[in-house]
């Protein structure tokens, strides 16, 4: 339990640092931008109470907002991601798994589950983020293109990071 909290805190610090120092400066004009910091929210323990999950997501978003000068924008997107996370867990996981305090990581959950988890979650997050950022439906195709392209790059970055820290543990489901 204590170990899980410490891991999450370290992950939070490292990913926020990477996001504001590195990924903020990478991008292809306005079209593609990377937001792999959302891995923080993806990897929060499964069985945590909803209120705590929303609060932590909100705070993560606010921290990023503070550095991006866009108060509330990332917070809203992260809250949407948290809601997606709850539904996704409820649909795909068994009841005893839902109660456990495991980290839903690549090693723990298997490639297929983790991939779809990250992919759809990133889509939800980026969709909310870009729609609120442009705040209108004019030029919607351009926004849609940047949502999809950014999602692809964010997912790739997240997968790379997950593979970097991949440690084979007791696998629950076999692919």
């Amino acid at each position: 339990m204590g170990k899980v909290i410490i891991f999450n805190v370290i992950r939070f610090l490292v990913l926020i640092l990477l996001q504001i120092a590195l990924f903020k400066n990478i991008g292809y004009y306005n079209l593609v931008s990377f937001y792999p910091y959302i891995l923080i929210i993806f990897l929060l323990p499964i069985g945590m109470p909803n209120l705590l999950l929303f609060t932590l997501s909100f705070l993560t978003g606010l921290t990023i907002d503070a550095f991006y000068d866009s108060l509330g924008l990332h917070a809203a997107a992260c809250v949407a991601l948290a809601l997606f996370r709850i539904f996704f867990h409820k649909i795909t996981l068994e009841v005893d798994m839902q109660e456990s305090f495991n980290t839903p990581s690549l090693a723990e959950m298997g490639t297929k589950w983790f991939l779809s988890y990250v992919f759809f979650g990133t889509l939800v997050h980026h969709f909310t983020l870009f729609i609120i950022e442009t705040f209108s439906f004019t030029n919607f195709l351009y926004t849609l293109a940047s949502i999809i392209l950014s999602s692809i790059f964010t997912v790739l970055t997240i997968l790379l990071m997950s593979l970097l820290v991949y440690r084979k543990k007791s696998r629950i489901s076999n692919i």
Partner: protein, 277 residues
Amino acid sequence: MKNLWLFLSRYNAIFWFIIFFVVAIVLVVRNNSYQRASFLNSSNVMVGSFYKQVNSWKSYLALADANEKLTQENVLLRQQVQNMIQANPVVDSVHLVDSIEQGRYAFIIANVANNSIHQKSNYLTLDKGSADGIERGMGVITSNGVVGIVLNTSAHFSSVQSLLHPDTKISVTLDTSKVFGSLVWGGNIDPRFAMVRDIPNHIKVKKGEKVYTSGYSLFPAGIQVGHIVETGITSGESFLDLKIKLTTNFSNLNHVYIVKDLLVKEKQELEATQDNG
């Protein structure tokens, strides 16, 4: 009551989501100027279009009244025009520049008889010609900008090569640095914009800076041409390309002035001797 609590706790994720999301959106709208502006705008669009609709219905009811007023005004204006024509002969030359330069430039008023802005090479036709002293190569301006250069004249008409023509090149200077470059229409298709070429790379140029004629070519110095809207479009050379918004509105040109440089012969003769020597 118990059922209500059951309902709330069962769907607590959604309720927490709504609360947090609303808080975040409120933060966005209150603290980010762009979203605030467009939030207010979108509500204004609804209000505005509603009023517009109401107004268009109301205006039908007032049509008879409006017609009556317009006819009365027409009668009045017609009387005034008649009186003026009898009282004053037609004015056909005015002075627009400084008294120092008055001896050098004279201006001839003309009306635009024909105009084009959508071609690749645009020309105008003016309703005065060689009978009024217009000659080939004179500059044409309006009260707030440059129009073009006289190309050909007949007795009562003259054709003008508009600024919106690939061959037109006019010498201009920048407001602060006083360096000179040449104004061309460039690769624009838009009649509101033009390019300033040949400004050296080391010059610091600000957006919004005004651009004036330099006085080296056919036009008197200090006529505003436009202001810079885009800087730093480098053509890969050691010169800057600046995009400027023209002050002249080519789409509704009506009265123009033809610049008659009285000393042009003297200047040309002097420059010709330089070439020979």
